[in-house]
């Protein structure tokens, strides 16, 4: 008998919150991306927990797709960071005020 799923859900909630705080507080775009990865991992952990609690493989299949989307998101996001850095010489969110009126 393994650990009750509530512990995993609570851990996922804490992990998601840490990622959200980092995303809101940090100004380095690369670190903000890493915080998004933390939040995605919290969601994945929750999916796997529900897959075990409800005995349903759908949760694990969804984690598979989340992994693919996370990889695509990181590739495009880091491409954007490289393109912006080439023009603006900085990777903090404060450097990106080009669209400000």
């Amino acid at each position: 008998m393994s650990i009750a799923g509530h512990w995993y859900l609570a851990l996922g909630a804490v992990l998601f919150s840490i990622g959200a705080v980092g995303l809101l507080v940090r100004r380095n775009v690369l670190v903000m991306f890493m915080c998004i990865e933390l939040m995605l991992n919290a969601a994945n952990l929750t999916f796997v927990t529900f897959a075990r609690m409800l005995d349903d493989i759908g949760g694990q299949a969804l984690v598979f797709f989340v992994l693919v989307v996370a990889a695509a998101e990181v590739v495009v996001g880091l491409g954007l960071v490289v393109a912006i850095f080439r023009r603006r010489r900085g990777t903090t969110a404060d450097d990106l005020h080009m669209l400000k009126g």
Binding site: L30, E37, V48, A51, V81
Partner: protein, 246 residues
């Protein structure tokens, strides 16, 4: 942590074996410490390494819950590909220096962010611990463990039958991501005169109004565009490399 659990759950928790509890404790500690390290480390390289630690902890928790295939994929794809990509970009851009976390342009941002997230966390914890998650009938995806082959067989059967169309769509998504990354990261060459001109003129004009570094940069870019149009590829490459070196 023990304070978070209502007394009705304690017998359920006691039913778990000692090994399970130790594994969960170690995995949860690794995950939380790594996540905090990502948020508070001043060097982006250290943040990436802390992210690896969190990802390994999550993989341990996947194994603990019987998702062996996803644990392997987690280590290979996340720790092996995504974090390496992060580190590659950090090294490539040369931003691996310490940053001053005490400097904060918006004084209200940190307290406000932490307050909002703590409120959200409280709601999530109430939902996670207090609710009963036994919903109605199981979905069409099938049970989590197949008769033969365990979770790998069950996941494979599910992905290639029930979720076949989404699986095909992810192929298109990955191709789009690759093409987009190439287009974004590519440098304008002498073959694209139009792009070289817009590069010097369009975004250069507003940034020239800013003055300082940006204007010289746009001038250099315009020069690179003009030179490449006039003298061809070799000169353009020389100018561009000279411009990119910090």
């Amino acid at each position: 942590m023990p304070g978070l659990v209502p007394p009705s759950l304690l017998p359920v928790l006691a039913a778990a074996s000692v090994v399970d509890r130790i594994t969960f404790g170690i995995g949860a500690t690794i995950v939380i410490l790594g996540a905090i390290g990502v948020v508070i480390s001043r060097n982006p390289v250290h943040a990436a390494l802390m992210l690896v630690m969190t990802l390994f902890g999550v993989a341990v928790l996947f194994v603990e819950q019987g998702a062996n295939f996803l644990a392997a994929v987690q280590v290979i794809v996340y720790a092996g590909a995504i974090v390496v990509l992060f580190l590659f970009v950090i090294m490539f851009l040369g931003v691996d220096r310490q940053e001053n976390l005490a400097e904060e342009p918006l004084p209200l941002q940190r307290p406000l962010a932490i307050t909002l997230v703590v409120l959200g966390l409280a709601g999530l914890l109430v939902l996670a611990i207090g609710s009963h998650w036994s919903t109605g009938a199981p979905s069409v995806a099938g049970p989590a463990q197949a008769q033969h082959g365990g979770d790998v067989a069950a996941l494979g059967r599910s992905v290639f039958t029930t979720y076949l169309f989404p699986f095909e769509i992810t192929a298109a998504l990955l191709v789009i991501a690759v093409v987009g990354a190439v287009v974004l990261a590519r440098r304008p060459r002498d073959g694209d005169k139009v792009e070289a001109e817009t590069d010097g003129g369009g975004p250069g004009a507003p940034s020239a109004a800013d003055g300082s570094v940006e204007s010289t940069e746009s001038v250099a870019r315009a020069v690179a565009g003009t030179v490449s149009a006039a003298h061809g590829r070799a000169d353009a490459d020389a100018v561009e490399t000279g411009e990119v070196t910090p």
